[in-house]
Symmetry: C2
Subunit: 84 residues, 2 copies
């Protein structure tokens, strides 16, 4: 018997007003490769966590605390948490 666990997926993206040079570089590179119809690109991080937990609400609260403390720089980044 395995321990109960939940999976969490966190998306960390730069906030909308913040310049994203990495995304812009990708957009430019796609144009160079012939992909002309790309109007904008934003690049961010996705972090998948396996949690030893059974309570979805508690797990979401804990992952949000992880985001505030470590996973996201909330001055310039926004994050979303999904529990699966």
């Amino acid at each position: 018997m395995t321990a109960p666990s939940l999976k969490a997926r966190v998306h960390v993206m730069l906030k909308d007003g913040v310049l994203d040079p990495q995304g812009e570089a990708v957009r430019h590179a796609l144009g160079t490769l012939g992909f002309g119809g790309v109007e904008a690109v934003r690049q961010g991080k996705v972090i998948e966590l396996d949690l030893a937990a059974t309570d979805r609400a508690a797990a979401e609260a804990e992952v949000r605390a992880m985001c505030e403390k470590l996973l996201a720089n909330t001055v310039i980044e926004k994050y979303t948490v999904e529990i699966a």
Copy 2:
């Protein structure tokens, strides 16, 4: 009137057998911060694209071509494409 457009979201993650030192570093840092119930962490990229397109199937095929050519290193990475 604005031009028609679709949004695509691409997830690029290391394949399951591939060591993820960045995710392991995050797991260790979370433990140091007192988040003890984290069994595994995998970190990847998320890329959001605004496309000047109306045909969802054609857009998905184009984004998959972008993944194969530029966005993912398919030797070690897997990707998923969502069109919204």
